[in-house]
């Protein structure tokens, strides 16, 4: 397995968690989410986001509503469902544990 591959695997696992975290604070449409993710250098190509959003929506963790835009096509505003919130809380716990564990191991 190449370094590139390992990095991709790590990023993928975290991506869902980050999308949910972004939407926890306030609802957003894909371009906003993309901006945040690109800003954090979590994704390289935008295409990655769309299948993930659809999947999270199909898992009923996300819901969306349409909103007209003055500058372009209508926008899909995504928000967390109740289940999505619970799901994110669980992920948050796991993440905390993991990051602690990883930091500990790397430092020693």
């Amino acid at each position: 397995m190449s370094l590139e591959n390992t990095q991709a695997q790590m990023r993928k696992g975290i991506l869902e968690f980050c999308i949910l975290s972004i939407l926890e604070k306030k609802e957003a449409y894909p371009s906003e989410i993309l901006d945040r993710l690109k800003d954090a250098k979590l994704i390289v190509v935008e295409g990655t986001l769309y299948p993930l959003l659809t999947r999270l929506k199909n898992m009923e963790l996300l819901a969306y509503r349409w909103e007209e835009s003055s500058s372009g096509p209508p926008r899909k505003y995504y928000s967390l469902t109740k289940m999505g919130k619970t799901f994110l809380e669980e992920l948050q716990v796991t993440w905390d544990e993991l990051s602690k564990a990883v930091t500990k191991i790397i430092k020693n």
């Binding site: 990655t48 299948p51 999947r55 199909n58 500058s71 372009g72 096509p73």
Partner: protein, 532 residues
């Protein structure tokens, strides 16, 4: 000067240059193709179209009103190659496993063609590869292996070369890949053909470098294993077919120079089974069973290799199993019926005479079978048919103690049949020559009986009673009786070869009929073998 077209992307109108439009269209096609196994692919595509519209409008301003090729290139770069991100999400779920299974199923609708585009010889391997979605290199390797190890790869190749049409039109190419023929897929195919020609296609490079190829390969390994078993079962089928032809016709079909011939099923039936109808039914039973097995293996093998999944082959395979079983049942019935012809044993004892000598020598007589009309399947042990006579060989010998100082010789003829009387009659029909001359016992190694008597376990047993202290010399072997506990004190000489332990064992033994008996068999070639 460039031609522009007007496109509507999710409700927004754009002016786009023609080459830019083609690039975008090709991207969307690749996306659709990559997402074909993904749940909710329609929605994903729609979302991405929205994003494309957004990105397009962001590339425009008051000065720039037309989308150019560079803009689309930039947008594609931002979105990423579909192969890249779609393969990326597949690892998340197991859903794609079932989806790829559905994809495999679609290969049922595929048609076999010869793929001339990358052909090495006549495009047969390429066509098969397209059919199974396997890399053509693997198909070529299988063909080479089959060619070298089994020798029939070449005829199969030539046969397919003759049978398979060339995928010359776009519609043929679609059928070859199992795609439905719609205006859209035709367009897609034409586009992908242009893509194939222009080496600039990114997707190709991606396919090679990314792990996405792996999942496709994995599916084809299963198909390779299937094909291997398919070839094996066809191979076994052909072997059985060979044996079957030999069994039906005997080796008469092969012009052997030898006297020995392999008997056909009818020939064996005629000398084993009681009535003509039994021979017929045995023939029917064995043929049905073997032919069903042969057809089953051939169809099953072809089905495995070419992935036929239609009802017709399934039904024919199941019915072949049933037909085969009825053949087996019929053969078994005939076998059991013939077995009943062997229940009773008839025995006939003839006294040959008594010899007063120091040693009884036995001389075997056998004639070389050089009649070209005889049929047999072995030089010893089994039977030879010569006209209306069945000649059998192997004479049994049994030795017991003589009660006086003479050698007594008896000939026992035995045969089996459905009744005791019939068996005795058959025993009486056995002809075996044996005679005493100058204190030498002359024994023919073979015996014969009428063909109409059938094979009914006919046997010839020679009983020789050996006086105490004397022995029989046969085929340069000496046969001497062991002595029982009764005689131990009288005949110390006879125990000369035994050690103390064996002597003690002998003393412990009560008089035992079997113990005072020795046996042997004189084979067709005059070789004597003792059974101790």
């Amino acid at each position: 000067m460039k031609k522009t077209v007007s496109v509507n992307i999710k409700g927004m109108n754009f002016l786009i240059e023609e080459d830019a439009y083609e690039l975008l269209q090709s991207y969307m096609n690749r996306l659709t193709h990559s997402l074909r196994n993904e749940k909710g692919s329609k929605e994903i595509i729609e979302d991405i179209e929205f994003r494309v519209a957004e990105l397009c409008s962001s590339h425009l301003n008051e000065k720039k009103q037309v989308i150019e090729k560079e803009d689309i290139e930039d947008i594609v770069k931002t979105l990423g190659e579909p192969e890249e991100y779609v393969e990326g999400i597949e690892d998340f779920t197991q859903e794609n496993k079932t989806n790829s299974f559905e994809d495999k199923q679609s290969s049922t609708n595929r048609r076999l063609f010869r793929e001339m585009e990358n052909a090495k010889i006549a495009g047969v391997c390429g066509g098969i590869g397209k059919y199974f979605d396997i890399d053509v290199v693997i198909i070529r390797a299988i063909f080479l292996i089959v060619f070298f190890f089994f020798g029939f790869g070449l005829p199969i190749y030539i046969l397919l070369w003759m049978i398979l049409p060339i995928a010359s039109t776009t519609i043929d190419r679609l059928k070859m890949q199992g795609k439905p023929i719609t205006a859209e897929t035709i367009k897609e195919e034409v586009e992908s053909a242009t893509n194939r020609l222009s080496t600039a296609s990114n997707s190709f490079a991606n396919k090679i470098s990314k792990g996405g190829v792996y999942s496709q390969r994995f599916g084809s390994i299963g198909q390779i294993i299937k094909s291997f078993f398919g070839i094996a079962s066809i191979f076994i089928g052909l072997i059985i077919l060979g044996f079957f032809i030999l069994l039906i016709f005997g080796s008469n079909i092969i012009p052997f120079g030898s006297d020995e011939q392999f008997m056909s099923l009818t020939d064996i039936g005629k000398i084993v089974l009681e009535g003509k109808s039994d021979v017929y039914w045995a023939w029917v039973g064995v043929s049905t069973a073997s032919l069903s097995a042969i057809f089953f293996l051939l169809i099953f093998g072809t089905r495995l290799i070419f992935n036929f999944k239609n009802k017709l082959t399934k039904i024919s395979l199941i019915s072949l199993v049933f037909i085969g079983f009825s053949g087996v049942i019929l053969s078994t019935y005939i076998g059991v019926k013939s077995g009943r012809e062997m229940v009773f044993e008839g025995e006939l004892e003839k006294s040959i005479g008594a010899v007063d000598a120091d040693t009884l020598k036995i001389e075997s007589h056998f004639k070389k079978l050089n009649n070209s009309n005889i049929k047999s399947n072995g030089n010893s042990g089994f039977v030879t048919i010569d006209g209306n006579k069945i000649t059998d060989s192997g004479i049994h010998f049994e030795y017991t103690e003589s009660k006086d100082s003479l050698y007594h010789i008896y000939q026992i003829l035995t045969a089996n049949s459905s009744t005791h009387k019939k068996a005795e009659r058959k025993a009486n029909n056995i002809q075996h020559s044996i005679l005493i001359s100058n204190n030498i016992l002359h024994v023919n190694t073979s015996f014969s009986y009428p063909k109409s008597d059938k094979l009914r376990d006919q046997e010839v047993i020679i009983i020789i009673q050996i006086p105490k202290g004397k022995f029989v010399e046969i085929d340069n072997q000496k046969v001497r009786m062991n002595f029982t506990s009764r005689d131990i004190n009288i005949n110390i000489n006879g125990l000369g070869d035994l050690d103390e332990l064996e002597k003690l064992e002998l003393l412990d033994k009560d008089y035992d009929e079997d113990y005072s008996k020795k046996e042997g068999i004189l084979e067709a070639n005059g070789y004597y073998e003792s059974w101790d």
